[in-house]
Symmetry: C2
Subunit: 142 residues, 2 copies
Amino acid sequence: MILSKSCEYAIRATVYVALKSKKNEKTGIIEVAEAIGSPMHFTGKILQTLVRKKILSSAKGPTGGFYVENGQHLFLIDIVRAIDGNGLFTSCVLGLEKCSETQPCPMHDQVKPIRDLLMAEFSKKPVTELVEEFQQHKYFLK
Amino acid sequence: MILSKSCEYAIRATVYVALKSKKNEKTGIIEVAEAIGSPMHFTGKILQTLVRKKILSSAKGPTGGFYVENGQHLFLIDIVRAIDGNGLFTSCVLGLEKCSETQPCPMHDQVKPIRDLLMAEFSKKPVTELVEEFQQHKYFLK
DNA sequence: ACAATAAAAGATAAATTTGTCTTTTATTAT
DNA sequence: ATAATAAAAGACAAATTTATCTTTTATTGT
């Protein structure tokens, strides 16, 4: 597993919220969980963190819900960083505290370019692109 | 984190055991844990699974310990598969059950070549190479 | 003002991963 | 045979991740 379960949910949830936002609609926890096939309450918690991390916005009360702020340019990497942190791209693959560029672990140089590639893919993938592909029924969210 | 903590320990432990095997010595749990800086009992459990998975061999009693069988050609991928399974290389990055080659998730095609690269790196890295580099003091195991 | 709605927050719990400790089993050397 | 050694096995515990449920707070429409 590359990403944590929370992070997988977070990405799918964000895509769904962004999709609704495109239609100028807010969406709630129940709807999101239903749409992406995730446990409702847990999804609520994740959406909450995404709001705290400024990925999503939310409004309480009737007509409230989660949405993507206008002019918000979201990339997948933002979600990954918000939920899983940067460890996937930086922490030593063999778990060595001292591993660094100057004192690399035996796999460091081999793995470095690969995780850079991975980071690049997440970095250049806008959430809007996933939304569009989803609208074209190119794939599902659950 | 790309690999689980258990898997990180497993790789480092295997390198150390292989190093001792090269000198025709068996080594015990206490020594391994000390050498790689891992929790002793937990390390014992991991060595146990590595034996069950035919990565390492072991002998009980005095003069016993863990060792690498003669003619055993170990690659890092073997250890990764034994401890973490194959999920890192195969399971959908967005956690979609139905994601496959024919019905890819929105990140599938971007991530596929990268995890293939990662698998290739682990596949072509023999444990013996890590042992040699370690002997040349190119790096540490803790 | 009031009722309804929906997120935020908090408390609790299940599951998994990580870690510890004790007992059992096998092997060796004396 | 016996004592010492060391892995195997099993029971238990802490920490983290995943998941659920309840209460509180903010907002809206009437």
